[in-house]
């Protein structure tokens, strides 16, 4: 008692719609033990009053799972892209600055549109085609150790942090970024998926594909799931080197 209540200060880069200019708004809220950025945003939503004491619109953001597996709540927190659900206020320097990941179209405030990542996954055919005119039965078995390794690659949640951190993903280039590339490696490693590996490799050899990587390696440093993205890229570089020569000098053989 008598001691001033501890508070947390947030600075948020806001905008009302995609085409509007952004502006900064500051908020001061009471500190709650173990609070994270999302619980702070919830508090602002409950009581949308900025630091000047003026009532304002609640801040918009995206979220879903709240346990860092869905990738929806990615934003820039104190300069670095990460998930807001696992950003604990106790571990952040104040004032805490929140910005949308502007590599993507900003819908409103901190909400971004990650559609381009899902389009990229379609472009590189990041799936295992299993449709046939009749029951094709079980596919080839995957060795257990390979499954464990592939599981790490499958942790990708399309959160967009690797694209935001990448200097080569920007409005001047159409580079698809590390996440969809690593998914090509995952699908090509799958025993059934490997039956279409040449189609995926040729897809990433297209415009905005693998070759646009400049090896800054920010992706692997930033990936919240610790996916070996740069190893994936280097491995795909080798695969596409072989594919390139195969396309040029090879026979009509498509798949191993």
């Amino acid at each position: 008692m008598g001691e001033a209540a501890k508070t947390v200060i947030f600075e948020i880069e806001r905008r009302n719609s995609t085409d509007e200019d952004s502006y900064w708004e500051k908020f001061e809220l009471p500190y709650v033990m173990n609070m994270n950025v999302i619980s702070a945003l919830m508090e602002i939503r409950r009581n949308p009053v900025n630091m000047e004491g003026k009532k304002t619109t609640p801040v918009n953001w995206d979220m879903n799972c709240l346990e860092e597996v869905c990738g929806a709540c990615s934003m820039i927190i104190n300069g670095k892209a990460r998930q807001s659900c696992t950003a604990l206020v106790d571990q952040l320097e104040q004032p805490i600055r929140l910005q949308p990941m502007k590599t993507f179209p900003v819908v409103r405030d901190l909400v971004i549109d990650r559609s381009r990542m899902f389009d990229s996954l379609k472009k590189v055919k990041a799936w295992v085609p299993i449709d046939g005119t009749h029951d094709l039965g079980e596919g080839p078995r995957m060795p257990e150790r390979k499954r464990q390794w592939a599981y790490e690659l499958s942790k990708c949640m399309t959160c967009g942090v690797c694209l935001e951190a990448c200097p080569n993903v920007n409005d001047k280039s159409d580079f698809i970024g590390a996440a969809p590339l690593s998914q090509v490696r995952l699908m090509n490693a799958h025993p059934t998926g490997a039956m279409n590996r040449d189609a995926r490799l040729n897809a990433i050899m297209g415009e905005g594909g693998l070759a646009s990587c400049g090896n800054s390696q920010n992706c692997v440093e930033s990936c919240p799931k610790g996916i070996p993205l740069t190893t994936s890229i280097a491995a795909l570089n080798r695969d596409t080197t072989v594919q390139m020569f195969r396309n040029f000098f090879g026979s009509d053989r498509m798949v191993d």
């Binding site: 080569n168 594909g209 920010n218 440093e221 280097a234 390139m244």
Partner: protein
């Protein structure tokens, strides 16, 4: 199939090492004759300038690859949005340095060729000899410009070897890429010493 960008990037990576990187190494080693005196350098320079078919060697081993690498490199450099501030990891800093040195080298090499080989070509100088370099490097600003130029070229080459190894899928694992970093650091140090020693031999 629309893989023109892929092939152009791979060609850019390849040409940086073969022939440009090899030529740079050879050039710096020949320059090093300057440390053995005026005559040694002039003999070496004379030998290089009078190789058979020298104009074709220059066109296909130096000018065309270098121009492709320079101009496509400028395009690559200016399509990146550098972010070393918030993402100050070593590889990202080297990524930025690779782009800055590349842009600087376009200017430096253009000036360097104009001042030496071009003067010989238009007959303003008989040969690119010790005397020519001595006159250029007598100016302390020029000496500084050349020191920065040599260091930038050697850095760009050494770091370029590292990304060449990744781009062609030779170094894949984290450990192999780390070892490649140590190796390219060694290349940078050795070639820098050779290059700088040669420069100071003219002063």
């Amino acid at each position: 199939m629309d893989n023109r960008e892929f092939l152009m990037r791979r060609l850019h990576s390849l040409l940086g090492i073969i022939p440009i990187g090899l030529f740079l190494t050879q050039h710096l080693i020949v320059n090093h004759f300057a440390t053995q005196g005026v005559e040694a350098f002039n003999n070496a320079s004379h030998f290089m300038a009078n190789l058979p078919f020298v104009i074709f060697l220059e066109i296909f081993v130096i000018y065309l690859p270098l121009m492709y690498h320079a101009f496509y490199g400028l395009y690559i450099a200016f399509t990146s949005k550098n972010n070393p501030g918030h993402y100050s990891y070593m590889r990202n800093l080297l990524f930025v340095a690779q782009r800055y040195t590349g842009v600087f080298l376009v200017v430096f090499i253009a000036w360097h060729v104009f001042e030496t080989r071009f003067q010989v070509a238009i007959g303003a100088a008989a040969e690119a000899d010790f005397n020519m370099m001595e006159n250029i490097l007598n100016n302390p600003f020029m000496l500084a410009f050349y020191i920065v130029g040599v260091l930038a070229a050697v850095f760009h080459f050494a770091n370029g070897i590292w990304s060449f190894l990744v781009t062609w899928g030779i170094t894949q694992s984290e450990a192999s890429q780390r070892n490649a970093t140590y190796f390219t650091l060694l290349v940078f140090i050795v070639l820098s010493i050779i290059g700088i020693r040669a420069l100071f031999a003219f002063v």
